[in-house]
Symmetry: C2
Subunit: 195 residues, 2 copies
């Protein structure tokens, strides 16, 4: 058992040490050799932890997902309904340099996931978690009278999921449209449509 | 002059012959050798047309963008306002196998564009075209009284652009959420929020 814990902890350390390098340089252009060097591992020393780039991008995506959820947990306090939903979105949206780097991880992850069933399953698992969370805040918002009674919650969850993915793309490949205040207006403008 | 035309025509032929191969197999896994073979060119014969995968993914993205616009031109007829906007979205949304393959081109294109200024500029140019078109249909819709007077058009254009990118992602990496009728409900549910 301790061995497994050590192994997982070491994997996580490697991801912590290298995800910014990957994001800045681009996943395609970053070599396993550079990742080994940045995480202080000898050449070939990555292999017990990540056999290939597919495994590395999966673990890096998990790291970004967990980091977002930790940010949300830290600011959520006793928010509910629309306030909780808005705060969750603000933590996922690429509103600062750190989160733009996170978005730069997500795009190559999608490309790998398109062709790797394990990564596709990981993507599904994580997105389902957000889907449920968004739906539950919307149900609270409806109960609290913060949104109109005729709002179709499953459809609105689909809007949020599409916009979440879309703003990651925009932050990376349409940076002129992705100033933080503009993305915040995008979010608040959508929330207004539900009231 | 004829030489340039031939050159461009040959590039286009290569893209026509290979984009489905790239989409099905994944851009990363498709080699320049396979693309040469699929387009009936000798090994190394691609080089005068595409020096590297960056140039090829750029040309393939342009092909997908043009194909979408041709589909829209073919069905648009004399539609205007909300009807024109809905039809444009239906042509971009990944609602059938052909368009899901197109979405599979767009994701690796984004990854390359994130790190290649020429591809980023191409992306900007094409998306600006849609941005202007969406804004103009919304302005018509407002003039025709099809949407509320207080709808903030620039913000709504941003919603559409984010959702357009998002549904491409969903079709490729969350196929369970991307049935054609569900994506159509997503679109119609959003349009209803504007009325």
């Amino acid at each position: 058992m301790p061995k497994i814990v050590d192994h997982d902890a070491r994997r996580l350390e490697i991801v912590h040490a290298t995800w910014r390098l990957i994001a800045e340089k681009g996943f395609r252009a970053t070599t396993m050799r550079e990742i080994a060097r940045a995480s202080g591992v000898a050449n070939g020393g990555l292999f017990p932890y990540f056999r290939n780039k597919e495994e590395l991008i999966g673990a890096t995506f998990e790291h970004v997902f967990a980091a977002t959820n930790e940010r949300f947990a830290a600011v959520r306090a006793d928010l509910e309904g629309m306030a909780a939903l808005r705060e969750l979105m603000l933590q996922i949206f690429p509103l600062d340099q750190e989160r733009i780097l996170e978005a730069r991880i997500v795009i190559p992850f999608w490309e790998y996931a398109a062709n790797e069933p394990d990564l596709l399953a990981l993507h599904e698992r994580t997105m389902d978690q957000w889907r449920v969370e968004i739906g539950s805040h919307l149900a609270d918002a409806k109960r609290l009278g913060e949104i109109r009674d005729d709002v179709d919650i499953p459809v609105v969850v689909d809007h949020f999921m599409a916009m979440l993915d879309g703003v990651q793309v925009i932050a990376v490949v349409a940076p002129a449209s992705a100033a933080a205040d503009r993305l915040t207006r995008l979010l608040d403008g959508y929330l207004d449509l539900l009231r």
